[in-house]
Every structure is written in C-alpha cells, then in structure tokens.
C-alpha cells in the first residue's frame, strides 16, 4: 500500500505546489503613482491647451538698425528701462571722424561769407562813388557798368557762400543723426529679459536669438494653443485654469482676455524650432493676477478651458 500512497501524495503535493505558484504569480502589479499629481481638469467639460507665459505687451526683440561692432552694453538683465534709455552702443569711430571733418568744414564757409560780405561792401562803395560823379566825362560808361556787374556777381557769390554754409551744417547734422542711430535705445518702458550681446561682439541683423529681449513683466499673460480641431469648442469669455509644468498643486485662475482671430501654424514648445509645423492652433489669450508663487516669462503651462454644453 505504501507505493499507492506515494503516488497519491505526490499528486496532491504537485497540485498544491502548482496552485500556490500560480496564485502567487497572478497578482497584477499596481502601477506606481505619479511623482507629481498630473494636471487635472477642474471643470465638467474642458478644452485642454498647451500654453506659455509671456509679458502682456509682447516681448520686444531688440535689433540694431545696421550690423556693427558692439562697443558698450549699458544694461544688465532685469534692469527697468524708461522709454528712450540707451541699451547698447555700436562702433561709431568712423562716423565720429567724419563728424570732425564735417564740423571743420563749417568755419571756412563762415569765413568765406565774411570775405564775400566785405567784397560786396567794397564794390557797393565803388559803385556809389562812380554814380555820384556828375561829370559824365570823368567816368566812362564802361567803368560804371563793370563795377555794377562786379557788385552783382559779388552779391550772388555771397548767396552761394551762405548756401554752402547751410550745406556744411546739414552735412554735419546728418553725421550727428547717424551717430545717434548707433546708440540703440529702449523703444518703450519695460524690463530687460535677455541680453545676448557683449561688448566686442558683432551685432548681426538677422540673428536667431534677439540681441536683447525687452518686456513688461509686471503684467503677464498666457497664450494658450488650442488644436484647430477643438477651436469651435472654445467660447469667448470662458474661464480657465493653468498649471505650471511640474507644479500641479497650485492652479492659476485665468481671466479671458481675447482670442487671436488668426489661426497659426503651431510653434513647438519643446524649443526645437526647425520642424514639426503640421498643425494649426487657435491662440487664446488669458490674463492672471500674479500668484503667490513665482512665475516667469517663457514658462510652459497646461491650460484647461471650461467648455459649456456638449457638441
């Protein structure tokens, strides 16, 4: 009977072993929770969008009027600028040299005028004297006429000398204006957000990065990109919330500002700008009051716009 028992015990043991193994391997792993709570939609229906924070007056990409060597940078990142405050200076040595020549050209012109004035006076005197002679035989008609012509020519020369002076002054002023153009000034009040140029560098006209970025950071807004497919779902005036990337604990309440009327090819927010324009987006602009935590221009946000009624 031992043998029989052995086979049965073996069977029972095998079965138990299998049951335990299969039961143990059956437990499905629960997925690990997200490290940070993902952005969630607070509304019943929503249109989600990807947004970026920007200054209310769109940032100004400062460019030079002409390419040139930068000799001095007047500002640092974060400086508050008044309108017209100098930002940086392009190399002006050539124009300064020109200015000196042009300024030097003015005194000779003035001297020429003085000289001519004296000549005119001299000839006037001569002419008057000749006219005053009553005896026609003492003065020939020829002399009188010659003096008169000489006087008229001297007068014309004076007019020309005066015009020459005006011209010299205008030339000096032109150089001055060109010189002034080499000092790049703030086109409006704002904060310097970026400085990408140093003294000694060459400022190009079509640089990929702006030489300087000027914006008003006191008032920020969010530009939310809505896929064109979802564009009809956005009602003007809908409230929205935004979450900073990686900070989903605190929502930023948004106030509707406007919808950009022109649907644009999407600019990728990943930073690589040379590709992937395959979708058009509706841009919705939202304002918000500065939250208690810091937000910066250029930060990416996840936006949820309230959607009323289902379509």
């Amino acid at each position: 009977m031992i043998k029989k028992r052995v086979s049965i015990w073996l069977a029972v043991a095998g079965l138990l072993f299998t049951v335990v193994t299969v039961w143990g391997g059956r437990q499905k792993q629960t997925p690990p929770p997200p490290l940070i709570a993902p952005p969630f939609n607070p509304y019943e229906g929503t249109v989600a969008a990807a947004g970026i924070i920007e200054a209310v007056n769109e940032n100004v990409r400062i460019a030079p009027p002409l390419p040139g060597l930068v000799t001095k940078v007047h500002v640092a990142v974060g400086d508050q600028m008044r309108i017209g405050a100098p930002l940086f200076q392009l190399d002006d040595r050539e124009l300064r040299a020109q200015l000196e020549t042009r300024e030097a050209a003015i005194p000779p012109e003035r001297a020429k005028i003085a000289e001519q004035q004296h000549r005119v006076k001299d000839l006037e005197e001569q002419h008057r004297r000749l006219q005053a002679v009553h005896d026609r035989r003492a003065v020939s008609e020829d002399d009188l006429k010659r003096t008169w012509y000489a006087l008229e020519m001297a007068r014309s020369a004076l007019v020309r000398a005066e015009a020459d002076l005006q011209h010299a002054i205008a030339q000096r002023d032109e150089t001055k204006a060109l010189l002034d153009r080499l000092t790049i000034r703030a086109p409006r009040a704002g904060t310097i957000l970026q400085v990408n140029v140093r003294a000694g560098e060459y400022a190009k006209l079509d640089a990929a990065d702006p030489l300087m970025l000027l914006g008003a950071t006191q008032e920020l807004q969010i530009r939310a990109d809505v896929d064109e497919v979802n564009a009809p779902l956005v009602k003007p005036g809908s409230p929205a919330v935004a979450y900073l990337k990686g900070n989903t604990a605190k929502a930023i309440a948004l106030k509707f500002a406007r919808i950009e009327p022109f649907i644009l090819p999407k600019k990728s927010l990943t930073g690589d700008n040379a590709e992937r324009v395959d979708t058009r987006v509706l841009q919705v602009i939202y304002r918000f009051d500065p939250p208690t935590f810091p937000v910066y221009v250029g930060q990416q946000v996840d936006v949820f716009i309230r959607r009323d009624g289902r379509t």
């Binding site: 043998k3 029989k4 086979s7 049965i8 069977a11 043991a13 969008a49 590709e275 992937r276």
Partner: protein, 377 residues
C-alpha cells in the same frame, strides 16, 4: 466494491506506473509548452504591460505596440479635452541604438515619460532613484539592458554611453518584463527622448490616459475614439491586439499549437490504450464479479473510479512537474514561462474527457462480457 476496484488498480504495479507515467508526462508536456507559449505571448506585449497605463491612444490603424505611428503634439490636449479623462500624458517609444565607450552597441527600446509626473515608469527600481531621470542626460536602464551592454561590472550608476550619438548617463536601473524581440528598455523623459530620436515630422508615439473614478477604461477608450478620431485602446485590448498580430504574422502559434496538441494526443492515446489493456487483462476478475451477480452499473462505476483515480493522480504529478520545471528554469524572467488558470483548467477538462472516453470503451467491453469467460482458457 470501490475498495476492490482500487486494489485491482494498484495491484498491477507495472500497468499502474505505466498509466501514471503516460498521463503525468503528457500533462506535464502540455502544461509546460502551454505556459511557455503564453509566456512568449506575454513578452510580446511587454511594451504595454511595462508601462502599465489603463488607456492607450494612438493612430487608429496601429497593428501592435512596437509599430509606432506618431501623432501631432497637440493630440495630448485633444485627449485631455475628452470628458472623463483624469490625466493624459505623452509617451515616446522607439527603437534606437545605444553605444558604449568600448564600441559595444545594442538596439534599445527607448521610452520617453512625461518629465513632471513620470507616469508609466517601472514599478521596481533596483538601483538609483527614478526621480533622477530629470537630471541632464539621465536615463534608466532595465536589467536586460545592463546584461546586453556588458553586465553589472561595466554598467553602473553614472556610466556614460551614447544613444544615437547623444550623451546618456545611467541614473537608475529598473526591473522590467523582457520583450519578445529581446530588445531591452531604456527610460528617459519625453523631451529628452525627442532629442535622442532621429528627426521626424511627428514624434508623439502614444498618449497614455487614465479615466476618472466611475468611468471604466473601456468607456473612456470608446469615448476618446469617438470624439477625437484617434485610436484608443485599453491596456488589455492593446495587449491582445499585439498577441493576435504575433499569431497572425509569425509561425509561433502554429508551432506551439502543434507541439501541445501532439504531446497531448500521444500521451492521452497511450494512457487510454493502456487503460483499455488493463481492463482487458482484468476481464477475468470482472467476469468473476459479474458471475457473482454484480450489475454492469456497479462494474461501470468501478471502471470510472479506477480511470479517474489514475487520471487525477497523473494530473497532479504532471502539473507539479511542469511547475517545478518553470520554477527552476524561468527564475529571474530569463525564460518565458507563465502558468495560468485557464490553461490548467483546459488540460484538466481534456484529461477528464480522455479518462471518460477510455472508461467508456472498457465499459462497453464489460457490458458485453459474459460471466462464462471465467471458466474458459
């Protein structure tokens, strides 16, 4: 009577052992092959199970998880706009080449996770911290990548290597399920995965999403598909889609199916025939019992008892052996071996069927049996 039946069964030790062996090994072969087959199928969609997300969104014409058809970036916001979505994050998936300083290289399956939430990250982290993925150039390798790239001596936390000519630093070593193609998984953040991957017009491979409480993944998947026109699948559906694709496009199903079927048929045929022979040899005893006035019903009951006893014993030993095999060889996930209830139940039912069939033939024989046989020969 039952006692006599069992005594008869156990009395003929050789026949009993033969019966037991035939049944046990047939069951073992079937269960073992079935489990390996199912293990391979599990590996085939490890791309889905390793991410462990409830709903997958991608192109509607997708065949299987490794055949990525990328979407436009804005698809994430379109999915988030669907009612019932708790969260939806982008996921990059693509096969790239990793290269070590010594020139050793290896194909890897790069997985880009949403940087803020790291949703879809592996549950088991063996070394390092998965949060370190946010550091510059950080990637997490799975245990297979460590093996393939040169073993734990060469690949440690902080090892620098190249992915598609970009610098990558090992920030964590994680545990994943092996894939069918045996391409190891490397995890990084979504944005970094985009810089690693070659230039393409569209790059978003998948969007993984979770329904809010009260909405099932199935409902959400249907809703996303209807509202966005994208393909949306639950993890199970996507897994099955991949399995079906595998079965259709590789010979693996036919191959394993034949082995399993043949193993089963051969084993069961031997067992059935042996049992029949066993009955035939014991015809005298049955005849004597019949002569003593035992009814055919009782005899049938005896036969059934004998056949089910030996069947169940064989089943127990067989599955035990198969499990032991699995335990010993598939330790650490190097061999696909996944035993499941449906397989065990299927084999059990088939075994009972064979036992019943074998008994039926024997019972027919007994029914026609004349008690006079005892006195002949």
């Amino acid at each position: 009577m039952n006692y006599i039946a069992l005594k008869m069964l156990y009395g003929d030790r050789t026949k009993y052992l033969m019966l037991l062996c035939g049944l046990s090994f047939s069951v073992m072969l079937t269960v073992q092959q079935g489990s390996i087959f199912w293990g391979l199928m599990r590996w085939s969609h490890s791309g889905v199970t390793n991410i462990n997300a409830p709903v997958w969104v991608t192109d509607p014409n997708i065949n299987q998880v490794e055949e990525v058809k990328p979407l436009a970036d804005t698809a994430v916001t379109r999915v988030r706009s669907v009612e019932g979505v708790d969260w939806a994050v982008p996921l990059y998936k693509g096969v790239l080449r990793a290269r070590l300083a010594d020139g050793n290289y290896q194909q890897i399956s790069l997985v880009g996770l949403d940087a803020a939430t790291l949703l879809g990250r592996p549950a088991i982290v063996r070394e390092g911290r998965i949060e370190n993925l946010r550091a510059p150039d950080a990637v997490a390798l799975d245990q297979w990548a460590v093996d393939r790239l040169g073993g734990p001596q060469k690949i440690q936390l902080g090892t620098v290597f190249e992915i598609n000519d970009h610098k990558a630093i090992v920030a964590a070593i994680v545990h994943t399920q092996k894939s069918f193609q045996n391409i190891p998984f490397v995890y990084t953040t979504y944005e970094r995965a985009l810089t690693y991957s070659p230039r393409e017009r569209r790059k978003l491979s998948y969007i993984v999403a979770k329904p809010v409480a009260g909405v099932t993944p199935e409902q959400l998947a249907r809703r996303i598909a209807a509202e966005t026109g994208l393909g949306a699948f639950t993890a199970e559906e996507f897994g099955w889609k991949t399995i079906v694709w595998m079965l259709k496009n590789t010979g693996i199903g036919v191959n394993f199916g034949t082995t399993i079927l043949l193993g089963f048929i051969v084993g069961m045929a031997i067992a059935g025939l042996t049992f029949y022979l066993f009955t035939v040899e014991n015809l005298k005893q049955f005849g004597a019992l019949k002569a003593m006035g035992t009814g055919t019903g009782t005899l049938a009951q005896m036969i059934l008892l004998q056949s089910f006893t030996v069947g169940l014993t064989g089943y127990g030993i067989g599955v035990g052996l198969a499990t032991l095999f699995g335990r010993l060889t598939a330790r650490g996930g190097t061999l696909p071996f996944v035993e499941t209830w449906p397989l065990l139940a299927l084999v059990f039912v088939a075994l009972l069927g064979i036992c019943a069939l074998a008994s039926m033939i024997s019972i027919r024989k007994l029914a026609k049996l004349e008690p006079a046989i005892v006195f002949r020969g």
